[in-house]
């Protein structure tokens, strides 16, 4: 029996939803069902006796999955990539601080924990670690919110570590708010300042190192930031460590609050703007780890793109980057939602599966995914989804490429491209609303002969704005709509030609 009060309640919910649907924060993309037709999610079972809170992943040379946990353990897992998964967990090391990065090289596992970078090895061949060689513990670590996230080894064997501030607003201990590089012989080399609460650290397809930044003071939304040597990345609390860094001097100018990134870049010459902004809630709330897809097509049509997990929303997103006038920028795209827990990190398996895992906790943020912890796998089933593959900026517009040919008749209409722009207030206060909104005027559309790309010329590209694309009207030659019609391109620079 459905009672009439029940119907009224439904009506009331529908009403509030409609009233605010234009900016319905917190709503899901609503694409999980469609996504599962291409990228099914497979859960990797965890035995109840294993206190698993995954924070980092690595693939061992013998093909096993390595998992580093918040509790400070490292597990080696055989069979995680089988279908169905048949995992066997082996405890390799324990007793460390929280592990948010693992990287295997030269017979040892290098773990970045909150307190140090440690090279962990097994010297007697029993597959259990017995040496814990500290490469460095020279950054300040004396408060509870002073997170540390690390990268894999770069080409020179360095580990890059992003050091969160002491909370959101202050830097109380040495190099909090900086990114540092730790060399194989244990030297710690400061790279850049201005981070707030960074998460995952890793390279793009050109080997350039980036870190995820969280929304908060001086950060209107989460973003991907280029860890450029000598740069200042936006949050001035960490200015205080320049006198401790040989070879660097404190920037002459501090950014003004209640301003715009575009304006302050002109004042503060060291300021490097975020390369990819992820509009808050629409594209993540607390982005965590990310990984470059170099599976050579095993994971579908998104080779050389970044895949990023989000803790609060339990989703995976994609991002692409390009360097324009010497500055990195790019776009982000929805990819997969409906994961089981708060995603802390991701990794590609040798079979080209995307491993995603994490946890929820009763002591920090609420999370959409309900499981207290989980390791899941996103498999590509070989069917190509109709998606925006990538957006690239040109002198007077954007080149949008797709994974499948477009219906060129639909694609040639300029009203099929809803492009709006906005930016954030660059401010000391927490986060920012979206401000300075404009609607872009499409002056010309030109679809390529193969239908796989379209060039959209705009009357004006708005500098320093995020360009939000909604291409819901486009269809493929097979009449499909895009799985995800939205994408967001961060314009820092406009190509000169």
């Amino acid at each position: 029996m459905v009672s009439s009060p029940y119907l009224m309640a439904v009506a009331a919910i529908a009403y509030t939803h409609l009233a605010c649907s234009a900016d319905d924060l917190g709503a899901m993309w609503g694409t999980a069902q469609e996504e599962s037709n291409y990228y099914p999610i497979v859960s990797i079972p965890i035995p109840s006796a294993v206190p698993m809170m995954p924070g980092s992943f690595e693939i061992l040379p013998d093909g096993r999955l390595a998992v580093g946990t918040r509790r400070g353990d490292i597990y080696f897992v055989r069979g995680a990539f089988d279908s169905p998964p048949n995992p066997q967990y082996h405890l390799f090391a324990s007793g460390q601080d929280e592990i948010f990065a693992l990287s295997w090289r030269d017979g040892a596992m290098t773990a970045t924990t909150w307190g140090e970078v440690t090279r962990i090895s097994d010297t007697d061949g029993d597959d259990v670690a017995d040496r814990f060689d500290t490469l460095t513990n020279n950054w300040g670590y004396a408060e509870g919110h002073e997170f540390a996230f690390g990268s894999k080894h770069d080409a020179e064997g360095n580990i890059w570590v992003a050091l969160g501030l002491s909370g959101s607003y202050a830097s109380h201990n040495l190099l909090r708010g900086w990114a540092v590089k730790v060399t194989p012989d244990g030297k710690m080399l400061p790279v850049c300042s201005g981070l707030r609460s960074p998460a995952g650290v890793g390279p793009n397809s050109e080997g350039v190192m980036f870190a995820i930044e969280s929304q908060g003071p001086w950060n209107g939304c989460c973003s991907l930031k280029h860890l450029k040597q000598g740069a200042f990345l936006g949050h001035p609390a960490s200015y205080n460590w320049y006198p401790f860094v040989p070879g660097m001097t404190t920037p002459a100018v501090e950014p003004n609050s209640n301003s715009r990134m575009g304006l302050e870049r002109k004042r503060v010459k060291e300021l490097v703007p975020p390369a990819v902004c992820f509009p808050y809630i629409k594209m993540g709330r607390s982005i965590s780890g990310f990984r470059l897809n170099q599976t050579g097509g095993k994971f579908g049509p998104f080779d050389n793109q970044l895949f990023l997990g989000d803790y609060t929303l339990s989703i995976i997103m994609r991002a692409t980057t390009e360097q324009i006038n010497g500055v990195w920028q790019g776009a982000c795209y929805p990819f997969r939602e409906g994961l089981a827990t708060g995603i802390m990190n991701v990794e590609f398996s040798p079979k080209g599966q995307l491993i995603a895992g994490g946890f929820t906790t009763n002591s920090q943020w609420p999370v959409r995914g309900a499981s207290p912890f989980a390791i899941q796998r996103i498999d590509w089933n070989g069917i190509t989804p109709f998606e925006i593959r990538e957006i690239n900026i040109k002198k007077d517009g954007f080149l949008i490429t797709f994974t499948k040919p477009l219906d060129r008749q639909v694609a040639s209409k300029s009203d099929a491209y809803d492009i709006r722009t906005f930016t954030h207030i660059y401010q000391a206060g927490y986060g920012s609303p979206e401000v300075d909104q404009t609607s872009a005027e499409v002056t010309r559309v030109e679809a390529s002969a193969d239908g796989l790309s379209v060039y959209v010329q705009l009357k004006e590209i708005v500098g320093d704005h995020i360009h939000a694309f909604d291409l819901a009207k486009l269809t493929s030659t097979e009449g499909q709509h895009l799985v995800h019609s939205k994408a967001y391109y961060t314009v820092n620079e406009i190509p000169h030609n």
């Binding site: 009672s3 009060p5 029940y6 309640a9 439904v10 009331a12 919910i13 509030t16 939803h17 605010c20 319905d24 924060l25 917190g26 709503a27 899901m28 609503g30 918040r70 509790r71 400070g72 324990s94 007793g95 601080d97 909150w114 307190g115 670690a129 040496r131 060689d133 500290t134 490469l135 460095t136 513990n137 020279n138 670590y141 004396a142 408060e143 509870g144 002073e146 959101s168 040495l174 244990g186 030297k187 710690m188 080399l189 908060g216 006198p243 401790f244 040989p246 609050s257 209640n258 709330r285 929820t360 906790t361 009763n362 002591s363 920090q364 943020w365 609420p366 959409r368 309900a370 927490y430």
Partner: protein, 933 residues
């Protein structure tokens, strides 16, 4: 060696280990010294006022400043606000309610104890020059200078004749000033009054309620009394009661009166804590400051051990010549005329020293600064001097002054009864008594509001026998428009509500749609103790739709009884007085309306309540991850307590909010759990959103009796030790880089990898381990103080170095580098670290004595590429320390035995220490010890 090269920075670092760097002390003194002349120059303003009260002082005149006129209040009502704030009804009668709503003038019966008589006289004569922006009209505007001065003087005599005044000023406490500055800006004062820069210059004077020169107006006592009970003298509540603690009020008062100058011998600042680290160490707190007549310690009251006093002042030198200063103290420094003549580091391990130093001085005022450390055994201070025509003697108070410029002494004001009688007459005839109606002085009545001609009198530019307000054109226009209806105003509920909110400047702190909110330039002043809550953790909640949100009883509690929900906001919720804002409770309820949500019928209340409990807990929506529940929090955030939500919130609003939190706060942190009406927990109550929200409400209505939700108490997570050693790392009682080791013999230790030091021993159960942290369990805990293991002491008096809060590069700057550990077959760790180029291995074995008692055998192995400079190893430190032989020591319950060919020595002090002098040979060598307790 993998250390990060740090040398260029080392010069920025004070070496904390070696006691107060004299440079630091000197720098502070220089600062004090420089401040005095600058202040003397700039702030001589009011003594001038006293002498030349009616001269032009270059102060900008300004129209009356009325808070709330800059809000989004409809322009038609702004004139009404002005009519009420200027108390027009005091002279021009209107309806009774207008008189009630209008702002009453300050009560004057006790003004003689409240206001400096000199200020009073100057202000009466020229109110708009003395305090630009005041709403007090100039009543003497048509009088010539001499007459004006006479009238102001007799009015002052009258006001001071009302009650014997006890007005007297006191020197500000510069320590409280620093605290007061923070409080002034964070507690809410600066929401209405202008925020100030470090030199107390007002930054937003044009958009703030003016304060005037408070140091000339108030004494410490009268201003702090006023801040405690602002409504006693200003009953209309425009200046609210911030309900601050007494100490906070005192600090704010010192801050506001920081320019008060009082004659005295010396300024002092008293510090407490680990003063040998230097007075700017994080472990040293400035406690208080003030003025004393001389260097006698007794005048400071009780001085605790481990204090330091910094004196600064000027000494009056009579004749040219060489002067010698004699100090008896444990440590400190003296500088005279800018030269350091005595400098002695404090040492806790010894008593006092006799020190002396000489300097050539020319006649006149010479600066003198003394930093004194109340440390060591039987601390004391004596400060004497001798010189030409001056025998050795304690420096007399008569030679000392806090400033090299004369500071005028305020003469007590003598009331002349004849002048007071004249003043009383003028108080009546000039019209003062119309507004200041608490003195029972008769007042004249004038034309009723309704009969006024808006182009004449106070509202004209003409001078005449009427009050002069200096209204600006915009204000005049507002008043002229409002005047015809002002006496018998008919307003809608919304207009009444808006007008009240504007009058009391509620929108200075609270956003309300249509009226405005926090000005962007003030936004950053609002701070909170829970940064994780984002803007909601620092900004007062919006008032948009608040009448549809809150139960009227709760609004009353907040407005009139100081109840508050968001303890993490630094800003106070001020109290404006029920008589003044009592209408808000009803008006909010009448004006604010939101659509009504249909509440579903609940078939099974118990099932619903259980589902509510599940959703609130960690297995459901985990509300308690952020929200407190019955005063308990499960995590680090402390968002508002939800257990008593039904006492505060209206159910309808609760429904609307849960469905879409972002509707009510654009940057809300709380996620929507029913996005698009779909529950994220489809398995509870069939995923029915309406039933789920109702279930949470029903459950929370249980209040304090509600069943505890899952996850509220954190589970213990014991790590027990069986036949192999266990290690855990992270935050623990010894620091953030702690390493806990539990051994199979049921003894455990904690090692600090920041300082490479053994820090704790215990017996029995090992530890509870959480993510990123562990907490030792067990019994018989023995804790060692902070400090590195090895050091080259220059003398045995030097303090042993440890990592303070701000010696950021320590201990790497002492040559240390942690290198990790390796495990043996039973997984016992050997810690690895470098001390300079010496590679150290530090191994603890759990062994048993012949009685079966477990203890630690420690083996330190040194690998030296060259023969090192000798150094000390601090094997143990603590209280109750004694030596049995050169190799056997007792520290409280701990027995320390050196079992290799090394001898220890005992160093006494606040903490005793066992130091082992070491000169390890080139190559490999070992030191072994037993720790048994």
């Amino acid at each position: 060696m993998g250390e990060w090269a740090v040398l260029p920075a080392a010069s920025h670092q004070k070496c904390l280990a070696n006691a107060p760097a004299p440079a630091t002390v000197r720098r502070d003194m220089m600062r004090t010294q420089q401040q005095i002349p600058i202040r003397a120059r700039v702030l001589r303003f009011i003594p001038l006022v006293a002498i030349l009260p009616f001269c032009l002082l270059g102060v900008v005149m300004a129209e009356p400043s009325v808070a709330g006129l800059s809000s989004g209040l409809e322009p038609g009502l702004k004139g009404q606000v002005l009519i009420e704030e200027l108390n027009c009804v005091a002279c021009h009668s209107g309806d009774a309610s207008l008189a009630t709503r209008s702002k009453k003038s300050p009560r004057l019966a006790e003004v003689g104890s409240r206001i400096n008589p000199q200020y009073m006289e100057a202000f009466i004569g020229e109110p708009h020059r003395i305090k630009p922006g005041t709403t007090m009209p100039d009543m003497l505007s048509t009088m010539a200078g001499d007459e004006k001065r006479r009238v102001a003087n007799s009015l002052t005599h009258f006001l001071l004749s009302l009650k014997p005044g006890n007005f007297s000023i006191q020197a500000p406490d510069t320590v409280a000033v620093v605290r007061g500055m923070r409080l002034f800006h964070s507690r809410g004062c600066a929401a209405c009054h202008s925020p100030r820069d470090a030199s107390a210059k007002e930054l937003l004077a044009n958009t703030s309620v003016p304060l005037g020169a408070l140091d000339k107006k108030y004494s410490f006592k009268s201003l702090s009394d006023f801040l405690r009970q602002p409504h006693a003298s200003r009953p209309s509540g425009r200046m609210p009661d911030l309900r601050l603690q007494g100490q906070d009020i005192d600090s704010i008062t010192h801050y506001l009166l920081q320019d008060t100058r009082v004659p005295g011998g010396l300024s002092y600042t008293l510090y407490r804590g680990q003063v040998w680290e230097g007075l700017d160490s994080a472990k040293v707190t400035a406690e208080r400051a003030g003025q004393v007549k001389d260097f006698a310690l007794e005048s400071l009251g009780r001085v605790e051990h481990h204090s330091a006093i910094q004196y600064a002042g000027w000494i009056n030198v009579a004749s040219q010549g060489s002067y010698t200063f004699f100090l008896k103290m444990n440590g400190g420094s003296l500088s005279v005329d800018g030269k350091i003549i005595i400098d002695q580091a404090p040492r806790d391990g010894r008593g006092i020293k006799d020190l002396q130093g000489s300097v050539d001085l020319a006649p006149g005022w010479r600066s003198i600064q003394l930093a004194y450390f109340h440390t060591g055994r039987e601390p004391q201070l004596a400060c004497e001097m001798a010189g030409p025509q001056m025998q050795r003697q304690p420096i007399p108070a008569s030679m000392l002054a806090v400033s090299d410029q004369p500071i005028p002494v305020a003469e007590p004001f003598q009331v002349d009864p004849a002048l007071a009688a004249v003043g009383r007459e003028q108080f009546s005839s000039l019209g003062c008594a119309s507004c200041h109606d608490d003195l029972r002085v008769p007042s004249k009545s004038r034309l009723a509001l309704a009969q006024l001609d808006a182009s004449r009198g106070c509202l004209s530019k003409d001078a005449g026998a009427w009050p002069r307000f200096d209204l600006n054109a915009q204000q005049l226009e507002w008043i002229r428009k409002a005047l015809p209806d002002a006496g018998h105003l008919q307003l809608s509920d919304k207009q009444r509500l808006d007008k009240t909110l504007a009058t009391f400047n509620c929108t200075a702190c609270h956003e309300r749609s249509g009226l405005g909110g926090i000005a962007p330039e003030r936004n950053a002043l609002f701070t909170g103790t829970q940064p994780g809550l984002g803007d909601q953790g620092r900004l007062p909640p919006p008032l948009t739709d608040v009448g549809a949100k809150l139960q009227p009883q709760w609004i009353s509690e907040v407005l009139f009884h100081g109840k508050r929900q968001r303890q993490y906001l630094e800003v106070s919720m001020p109290q404006f007085g029920e008589a003044n804002v009592g209408n808000l409770v009803e008006l909010f309820g009448k004006v604010d309306e939101l659509e009504t949500v249909a509440i579903p019928e609940v078939a099974n209340v118990k099932e619903s309540k259980d589902a509510g409990c599940e959703m609130v807990g960690t297995s459901g929506l985990s509300c308690i991850a952020c929200h407190e529940f019955n005063g308990r929090k499960s995590g680090e955030l402390a968002a508002p307590d939800i257990a008593r939500v039904s006492e505060r919130l209206k159910k309808n609003w609760f429904n609307l909010y849960l469905r879409q939190p972002s509707r009510f706060h654009p940057t809300v942190i709380m996620p929507g759990y029913w996005p698009g009406g779909q529950s994220v927990r489809p398995n509870i109550l069939g995923g029915d959103a309406a039933q789920q929200i109702e279930a949470i409400w029903i459950y929370l209505e249980g209040g304090a009796q509600a069943k505890k939700p899952a996850g509220l108490s954190r589970q213990s997570n014991e790590l027990s030790v069986s036949d192999v050693t266990e290690v855990c790392r992270g935050h623990c009682p010894v620091g953030y880089r702690g390493i806990g080791v539990g051994y199979p013999s049921r003894i455990s230790l904690a090692f600090d990898s920041d300082e490479m030091a053994l820090r704790q021993l215990w017996k029995g159960e090992f530890a509870n381990v959480d993510i990123g942290s562990f907490h030792p369990r067990g019994t018989d805990t023995f804790a060692f103080p902070q400090g590195i293991p090895f050091h080259r002491l220059k003398t045995l008096e030097d303090n042993w170095p440890y990592k303070g809060k701000t010696n950021y590069l320590f201990p790497q700057d002492q040559g240390y580098q942690f290198r990790g550990y390796h495990l043996d077959a039973t997984r016992r760790p050997t810690f690895l670290y470098h001390y300079g180029d010496i590679a150290v291995e530090d191994f603890f074995e759990d062994v048993r004595d012949d009685k079966g008692n477990a203890y630690f055998k420690r083996t330190l192995t040194f690998d030296c590429p060259t023969e090192p400079v000798p150094f000390y190893f601090r094997a143990a430190a603590g209280k109750k320390i004694s030596r049995r032989t050169e190799r056997e020591f007792t520290i409280d319950q701990l027995q320390l035995r050196i079992t290799s060919e090394h001898n220890g020595l005992l160093r006494e002090g606040n903490l005793g220490e066992v130091l082992i002098p070491l000169t390890p040979p080139r190559g490999h060598s070992t030191l072994t010890l037993d720790y048994q307790w």
